[in-house]
């Protein structure tokens, strides 16, 4: 069977599975819709959290980012796993004991203030919308690459599937489909990785393989370092980022992870406080399987690329090179007209994507108009190719390639669904039930929740089809905002009995404002003169990706300072704090 048929078959089967699960796990009450009835086992919740967490970007993009940034890529590996330690130790058990449905619920009750609740709702909506736009786009891209359909059609299909199970099952439907999606995505990620590790080093465990020796008896990493330095690149195992920037980016990603509402909300679904701790452990274990494999794939892919293309005549290049050139993910310009590919430091293009023209060059390559004339690098490679092209480069059977498509879709859909649930819950529960119309019945609230899910899917789909300019900065934005708003507010709500409404609100607003300002100034270029938006104007050399950490520190400082000038929280709030510190009597997540 050819790749196309296999892909339709495997993707079709996986979608049928998700929809089947959705029908089996319909939600009958708001409690089931918001927190799956509070009866999810820690193991199932760990699997679901892992799928929720790992997005299209983790699945398709992560190995590529590391392959092309080497040691610098460690910020993502440590940042997106270390946050779970903070979650397990500082947030999850206490929020589970608190036993409500959402993060704004906690902020609103703990700080006895609807203003605080509203700030939290706005932050939750903002973080979730920026994040979900990228996911819907990811669904579209996977469809277009593997199934030859238009990107927009892919977005529509993705919207349809997500809508079906989010609308019917809410958190309950999402949880059990995510369990299935984790299995699909991890299988799809590991099979090619294991094959490639065996081919490169004879070791079937990729985590060990990239520290082993290749056929020539040289350590894989030493060989790659050698190949790279020889051509003038920085050695793979050495970084180019400054230590302070590495530090702040890692911290912002960790703190952001621990503050993302769609991750936190997952810990409301388990029956007990001890289960919340345990399921954070399971979640990180399942995430770590992918995150420790990605750097191995990165090394093998980078080595393979360097060895295959360097000084190779275009006419004799393997067929995968031309195939990905046809899709626009690879572009080559023969700058020195020797008919051979030179892959050297420096950007091969002006701008981000190659602009192809109608003509073919002397060697038969697709010609581009925007090649860079200031360096000798002839080759542009899209980072996403690392995972996408792996099975082909390793010569794996067609069904494995189809599996990668199903895995990418599972990763994108599971994350999108988790985010859509946060959005619909924020609207139906935090805004309508808690503030606008407290008298509505459970049944009515359930239908409002479904209606909000419908709206959220439409908006997310719209962003997927017409991605706003800031989607590229989504990571910096979503993590920076979560780190500078939720994380400090929740931690102080648990660990300080003295923290009051005034302090928390002032802290959140200060943290959000300064982080938004910095990102708007240095990442988006919306504020200030463009000529002062460059790297050398960064404060203390911290990049916008890492600035969430500064926002977090400012949030803490402002909150602690302001809280001194106002009364301690009322007695019943101090009792809440006393109470959430003790696990016993958690009961299932309830509304009151």
């Amino acid at each position: 069977m050819d790749i196309q048929t296999w892909t339709f078959l495997i993707v079709g089967l996986s979608f049928a599975l998700y929809i089947g699960i959705a029908i089996w796990s319909r939600a009958a009450s708001t409690k089931e819709f918001y927190v799956a009835g509070g009866g999810v086992s820690p193991l199932a919740n760990g699997l679901a959290t892992a799928a929720d967490w790992m997005s299209a970007a983790s699945f398709l993009g992560m190995a590529g980012i590391i392959a092309f940034s080497g040691y610098d890529g460690s910020v993502y590996l440590m940042g997106w796993t270390g946050g779970y330690v903070l979650l397990a130790l500082l947030l999850a058990p206490y929020l589970r004991k608190f036993g409500k449905f959402t993060v704004p619920d906690f902020i609103g009750d703990r700080y006895y203030s609807n203003v605080a609740r509203t700030v939290a709702v706005i932050a939750a909506l903002f973080v979730s919308f920026t994040y979900v736009a990228g996911q819907m786009r990811g669904v579209g891209v996977v469809f277009s690459r593997f199934l030859d359909v238009d990107v927009n059609t892919g977005v529509y299909i993705g919207m349809g599937v997500v809508f079906f199970y989010a609308f019917l099952g809410g958190m309950k439907g999402i949880t059990y489909t995510q369990v299935a999606q984790y299995c699909v995505l991890i299988f799809a990620f590991m099979v090619p990785a294991i094959f490639i590790s065996i081919m490169a080093t004879g070791n079937p465990i990729p985590q060990l393989g990239f520290g082993a020796t290749g056929e020539d008896g040289v350590y894989v990493l030493d060989k790659l370092d050698g190949l790279m330095t020889e051509l003038g690149f920085t050695a793979y195992t050495d970084g180019t980022k400054s230590t302070i920037d590495m530090f702040f980016i890692t911290a912002a990603l960790m703190l952001g992870t621990a503050g993302l509402p769609h991750v936190i909300i997952r810990f409301f679904t388990v029956p007990k406080v001890s289960d919340a701790r345990k399921s954070a452990g399971y979640a990180l274990f399942f995430i770590a399987i992918l995150y420790t494999t990605a750097p191995a794939i990165a090394v093998f892919a980078r080595t393979n690329l360097m060895e295959t293309v360097q000084n190779t005549r275009y006419g004799t290049i393997p067929s995968w090179f031309k195939k990905w050139e046809d899709t626009g993910l690879i572009a080559w310009t023969d700058k020195n007209s020797d008919g051979k590919i030179q892959y050297l430091p420096g950007a091969a293009l002006e701008g981000k994507k190659p602009e192809f023209i109608e003509f073919r060059g002397d060697s038969g390559e697709r010609m581009i108009s925007n090649y860079s004339k200031t360096n000798k690098n002839e080759l542009y490679v899209d980072r996403d190719i690392t995972v996408l092209a792996n099975p082909e480069i390793a010569g794996l059977p067609n069904w494995v390639i189809a599996l990668v498509a199903a895995g990418g879709l599972a990763a994108a859909l599971s994350t999108a669904a988790g985010l859509l649930l946060v959005i619909s819950t924020s609207i139906s529960h935090d805004l309508i039930k808690k503030q606008i119309a407290p008298k509505i019945s459970d049944r009515e609230e359930l239908w409002i929740a479904r209606g909000s899910a419908f709206l959220a899917v439409i908006v997310a789909g719209y962003f997927g089809i017409y991605p706003p300019g800031f989607v590229a900065s989504v990571v910096a934005l979503a993590f920076g905002l979560a780190a500078s708003s939720f994380f400090p507010a929740i931690v102080m709500g648990i660990f300080s009995k003295r923290m009051n409404r005034e302090g928390a609100i002032a802290g959140m607003i200060a943290g959000l404002t300064i982080t938004c300002y910095y990102i708007a100034r240095f990442k988006l270029g919306w504020i200030g003169k463009p000529e002062t938006g460059g790297t050398k104007y960064w404060w203390w050399g911290i990049s916008p990706e890492g600035f969430g950490t500064v926002g977090m520190l400012i949030n803490f400082m402002v909150a602690l300072l302001v809280s001194r000038f106002f009364d301690a929280p009322p007695k019943e709030v101090q009792h809440i704090v006393e109470d959430i510190r003790i696990p016993s009597g958690a009961g299932k997540a309830t509304e009151h």
Binding site: I66, L77, M78, F210
Partner: protein
């Protein structure tokens, strides 16, 4: 549960947190970032040690830390009879 026991329980919890978060900080920010160059002079098979911590070791330690915390807290909960 009386107030003094509550205090003792919470204090012990904070102590565990301090120790575990210290290790969390050490393996990632310490070994993986701040002292990465020094550690890179030591080798672990084909890996430079600092690089290994940044891309593998820190993640393994994170997983272990959470499960250690789970065990410690389950024991502490039982001792103070606050397990759920």
């Amino acid at each position: 549960m009386d107030t003094s026991n509550r205090k003792k329980y919470w204090h012990k919890n904070l102590q565990y947190l301090a120790i575990l978060l210290f290790i969390w900080f050490l393996v990632s920010y310490g070994f993986g970032i701040l002292w990465v160059d020094e550690l890179n002079t030591i080798r672990l098979g084909g890996f430079k040690l600092g690089f290994w911590f940044a891309q593998q070791g820190a993640i393994y330690v994170f997983v272990i830390l959470i499960f250690v915390y789970v065990r410690l807290m389950n024991r502490l909960d039982k001792k103070y009879k606050v397990n759920d």
